[in-house]
């Protein structure tokens, strides 16, 4: 697993704060990614409930992608701080670029907890799910 951290956040909005986690596309590593997700979200002043939701969201997104990842390839998770929250893109190389089915419990859980969710496939059959979880603004409770 590799982990690259950009410059630390001196001022929230001005500095791009991004972390990339790359790991084998194997289910045994999912618990590691959940822990990394919770750690990063905690750093960004998410509430405990939101941290928990992100942990589940990332888990569901990755579990869906792992089902179609090419054997021996990696799963990549990019965490990026935005003005309003955190954007997480998880992606794998697949055989056919098929998008995750949305009539599943996994998608129900993901879309209910992870904020804005989208999925797309590139020309090289890399399938990506993007989660954008908004942080509660100060004063908005």
């Amino acid at each position: 697993m590799t982990e690259d951290t950009a410059a630390p956040p001196a001022g929230f909005a001005a500095v791009r704060d991004a972390v990339t986690v790359r790991m084998p596309a194997a289910s045994a590593y999912l618990s590691v990614l959940r822990t990394a997700t919770a750690g990063l979200a905690a750093r960004l002043d998410f509430t405990l409930d939101d941290i928990e939701d992100l942990r589940i969201g990332v888990d569901e997104a990755c579990a869906m992608l792992l089902a179609q990842a090419l054997p021996g390839t990696d799963l990549t998770a990019e965490f990026e701080l935005t003005d309003t929250g955190m954007r997480i893109s998880v992606s794998v190389l697949s055989a056919d670029g098929r998008l995750p089915e949305r009539d599943t419990f996994a998608w129900t859980v993901l879309s209910a907890l992870a904020g804005d969710v989208d999925a797309f496939a590139d020309a090289d059959d890399r399938v990506t799910i993007v989660l954008h979880k908004h942080r509660a603004m100060p004063g908005s409770v």
């Binding site: 999912l30 579990a63 419990f105 129900t108």
Partner: protein, 130 residues
């Protein structure tokens, strides 16, 4: 690789499976196998003790649904006990709590399943009397 802790206890005719750890795509099959083995040995009257489950995703929920269906097919009963906040949240989110009773404690869940086990027998007695 993380593994689930799974331990089965039988109280009278109702079996309790205690699950310890995180139920995800890597461990859900272990839970399914353990519950199937418990049902073969003790029958379809089952309590799943979720008190020490720190995390559950839709792979775990799918197992709970399968087990619930299997218990019903065999005229048995499933109850869930003591889910932590995260687990209770996803159970509610997909509406599983409308189909499977969720109890605060294992003792309450066992009592509820015991009641279901006794009732069909009583019903049969009543029908014989009539």
């Amino acid at each position: 690789m993380q593994k689930l802790g799974l331990a089965t206890q039988a109280h009278g005719g109702t079996a309790t499976v205690q699950v310890v750890g995180e139920v995800d795509i890597a461990t859900a099959a272990d839970l399914r196998r353990s519950v199937s083995a418990t049902m073969r040995e003790h029958g379809p009257w089952l309590v799943l003790d979720l008190t020490r489950v720190r995390f559950m995703d839709s792979s775990g929920l799918n197992v709970l649904i399968e087990v619930h269906k299997e218990c019903k097919e065999q005229s048995g009963h499933l109850a869930l006990a003591g889910p932590q906040a995260q687990v209770a949240k996803v159970i509610r989110l997909i509406g599983l709590d409308k189909h499977v009773a969720v109890h605060d404690t294992v003792a309450e869940a066992v009592t509820a399943v015991d009641a279901h086990r006794v009732l069909p027998a009583e019903a049969e007695e009543t029908s014989q009397l009539n």
